[in-house]
């Protein structure tokens, strides 16, 4: 098989494949990479905190590689609360066993923010020997022993909606809790499966963290603002603005945050390239940004076009 260089990998990720599944192009690379992994499929632990399971569902929306292939052939998803067969003690045992056996080599994926207020009482992961383990403790413990942590989605990355003002549970992003292991933030609410799997494959293939922006997001997946290349740019240039969400025209005056949101929604779109917010007449909410949701509110903006 032909080798793909880092440069080519990044080029594929940053846009050449607009509109079609990013990983179509990368699938042979992924399978090749993992076939070479000496210990078989790399172990992955997926924990959920102040979450809604939306990022898990988004993961299941992946097309290439499809989810069956991902789960059955590519990674070894040892612990995932929504998908795993076992429960209770047996599940917690797998978690501890995996972390001990693969210390420093497993990948920790976190979905949901970390409620850090009042000692972490607002979210518990499970009960061990009669004592409830808080999610905060679990993230500290399993984050430190991981090869790398991927914070999947806005909540895990930046606190997201549970961390919105007045933040009643003191919820923060994982990178504010895990200090000694690299944390990669995958923005968007939910995370896009291509951004997540592309990052995971890069880490597995090259054994290093991809280049990150100031918010620890992989630059190749959060390359530029959505406004650049927005299909409504023509309206913007001609000064045609929508008066209401859903109208024709640039959505800037109904709250569109495409000028500040870094993501590839305008190229990779969502749900197998079916649609995306701005194409569907809905203003971008900048869910990819640490500012989401407080600084992105009101979602439909403060200004209106007068008749």
């Amino acid at each position: 098989m032909r080798r793909i260089t880092r440069r080519e990998f990044i080029k594929i990720c940053t846009g050449a494949t607009a509109g079609i599944g990013l990983l179509n192009t990368l699938e042979p690379v992924i399978l090749d990479t993992l076939a070479q992994a000496a210990e078989g499929k790399p172990p992955v632990i997926w924990l959920q905190g102040a979450a809604c399971s939306g990022c898990s569902l988004s993961l299941l929306n992946t097309v290439t590689p499809n989810i069956e292939k991902l789960l059955l052939e590519i990674i070894s998803l040892k612990f995932h609360p929504t998908l795993m067969a076992s429960a209770g003690d047996q599940a917690l045992h797998i978690l501890e066993e995996t972390a001990a056996e693969y210390e420093g080599r497993y990948y920790l994926i976190v979905e949901g923010g970390v409620p850090a207020g009042d000692g972490g009482v607002y979210c518990t992961l499970g009960e061990k020997e009669g004592k409830e383990v808080t999610f905060l403790e679990a993230i500290q413990q399993y984050g430190e022993k991981a090869a790398a942590v991927i914070a999947a989605g806005s909540c895990a990355a930046f606190g997201g909606i549970p961390g919105a003002a007045p933040n009643p549970t003191g919820t923060v992003g994982v990178w504010e809790v895990v200090k000694n292991t690299p944390v990669i933030n995958i923005g968007c609410c939910p995370m896009h499966p291509d951004d997540f799997l592309g990052t995971l494959v890069y880490v597995l293939k090259y054994g290093e963290i991809p280049q990150l922006d100031v918010y620890n997001r992989p630059k190749m997946f959060f390359p530029d603002i959505i406004h650049v290349g927005c299909p409504r740019c023509g309206y913007f240039a001609r000064g045609i603005f929508a008066k209401n969400p859903g109208d024709d025209g640039c959505l800037a005056f109904v709250g569109c945050k495409g000028m500040v949101a870094r993501a590839r929604c305008n190229t990779r779109q969502w749900n197998n390239g079916t649609n995306w917010c701005i194409a569907a007449g809905a203003p971008c909410q900048a869910c990819s940004e640490p500012a989401f949701p407080d600084e992105c509110s009101p979602i439909y903006g403060r200004y209106r076009i007068q008749e």
């Binding site: 609360p81 409620p115 859903g246």
Partner: protein, 471 residues
């Protein structure tokens, strides 16, 4: 007396702990605890009311559509918005797509691993190695369908995104309708996927449910619960009327102590004796003595009521479920009701698609009033959802939420009466205390959604606004 704790209960949405007391091989008492508190009602205060249908979607990534539309209906009411026919129908189609996705996902990916063995790789192993009764032929067939169902549920999401923009967490629902336009191309795209899903539901999903139900016969008697049912109703078939008085495809209704009745919101109460709150207000009290859950205990006429597909099919007297009689209130009854509902909804969606008028508006403009109030009643895949808003100075003054799992997974109330799941667990046989798979089967038959369970009505200060609804 042996106490068995399952924490975390996996293959559900969110954080649930189940604790049962077992005596002579049977559960004699159970406690259900929600173990995540986020405080949505507190976060919503002071925001632009139109943000609520986006923030409330993040309550749950599976039921996000239910919250989006409930919130939009609540705002339709508060803003005095009119929804055009295309807007109403597109909302129904989006919600219908979510029902199909959620029901298939629940049966195969959340529940089925309690009955089948396979695929033989993580995360499907290790499993509880006992009481798998299917013949290898049926087992292998359902395992193959478990794998295929991943693709099917993904396609249901893609169908939803045709009008939803993106999913989970759609952006097209607004007060006054939806932002996406109706074009012939979109209608055809949607219909093509619907054909495939509908055929999967009828020729794969339903036969698989019945194959399992036939072998696990005792589960028609296990998990009866409170046998009270509650439905707010969903899928309006005509325009106007708000949440009150609309003609709905799946109607609202109540079934209490063996009697059918119409929904009267004034009969809803909420107890916090065993919940981690100071009092009926939103103020959390994590270490409250005796409290064991973040969930509150809503009751109808002072009694626990179950919400979900079974209650919906029951109060609508859908023959395939209603004719089961008392057996419908059981683990298998819940699975069958869910599958029957999935088929009914998919079939109706073809008719709704034909009623769309390409090119006609999908939304009408509206604006936030200085003051106002609204109510939205609806059903997500897992059961009833209600949103209630008070607007002051163009901002949210109060926002209250109730949803299916608040009802189903609720703890004991002020009279120490257990919630529906707690009640359904009593009498469940437990053959192996180390591997209480029977308990997990009962709990999962409810399709618990813990994200949707920790929500507040804060009854004392403002329920008075809600008037009697007779539908």
């Amino acid at each position: 007396m042996p106490k068995v704790v399952i924490d975390p209960v996996t293959r559900i949405e969110g954080h649930l702990k189940i604790e049962v007391d077992v005596d002579r091989g049977k559960v004699i008492d159970a406690r259900s605890s929600g173990t995540l508190y986020r405080g949505f009602e507190t976060i919503l205060k002071g925001r632009d009311p139109r943000d609520s249908q986006h923030l409330t979607q993040r309550i749950c990534g599976v039921c996000s559509i239910g919250h989006a539309i409930t919130s939009a209906r609540c705002l339709d009411d508060a803003l005095g918005a009119k929804v055009p026919p295309n807007g109403r129908i597109v909302r129904n189609l989006i919600q219908g797509a979510n029902f199909i996705m959620s029901h298939i996902f629940h049966f195969y990916h959340l529940a089925a691993l309690d009955y089948i063995t396979g695929p033989d790789t993580a995360p499907s192993v290790p499993r509880v190695n006992r009481d798998y009764r299917l013949s290898s032929g049926i087992n292998n067939r359902v395992v193959r369908n478990y794998v295929e169902a991943f693709t099917i549920r993904r396609k249901a999401q893609e169908m939803l995104a045709v009008f939803g923009g993106k999913v989970p967490h759609i952006t097209t629902i607004i007060p006054g309708g939806v932002t996406e336009k109706v074009t012939q191309e979109k209608v055809d795209h949607f219909r093509t996927i619907l054909h495939e899903l509908s055929s999967f539901v009828e020729s794969v999903y339903i036969p698989d449910v019945f194959s399992i139900a036939e072998v696990y016969k005792d589960y028609w008697d296990i998990g009866r619960g409170c046998k009270n049912a509650l439905a707010f109703g969903v899928f309006p078939l005509e325009d106007g009327g708000g949440s009150e008085g609309q003609n709905l495809f799946i109607k609202s209704g109540v079934y209490t102590n063996g009697q059918f009745g119409s929904l009267d919101l004034e009969k809803i109460s909420e107890a916090v004796k065993y919940s981690r709150y100071k009092d009926e207000t939103a103020e959390p009290q994590p270490n409250k003595l005796g409290a064991y859950s973040w969930i509150r205990a809503p009751r109808y006429e002072g009694l626990p009521h179950e919400a979900g597909p079974l209650p919906r099919m029951w109060v609508n007297k859908v023959a395939e479920v209603f004719d089961l009689g008392e057996k419908a209130f059981s683990v298998m009854g819940r699975h069958v009701a869910r599958a029957v509902e999935c088929k009914l909804v998919a079939k109706a969606m073809f008719d709704w698609l034909n009623l769309l008028k390409p090119g006609e508006p999908t939304h009408l403009p509206c604006s936030v009033p200085e003051e106002g109030s609204g109510m939205g009643l609806w059903e997500g895949p897992r059961g009833c959802i209600g949103h209630f808003v008070e607007v002051k100075d163009y901002k949210i003054q109060s926002y209250k939420i109730t949803a299916s799992t608040v009802w189903n997974a609720s703890p004991r109330d002020d009279k120490d009466e257990p919630g529906p799941i707690e009640k359904a667990l009593v009498g469940t046989p437990v053959d192996d205390l180390e591997n209480p798979i029977e308990v997990a089967r009962v709990v999962r038959s409810f399709d618990p959604c813990m994200g949707c369970s920790v929500h507040l009505l804060e009854m004392k200060d403002s329920w008075g606004r809600v008037t009697s609804v007779n539908i």
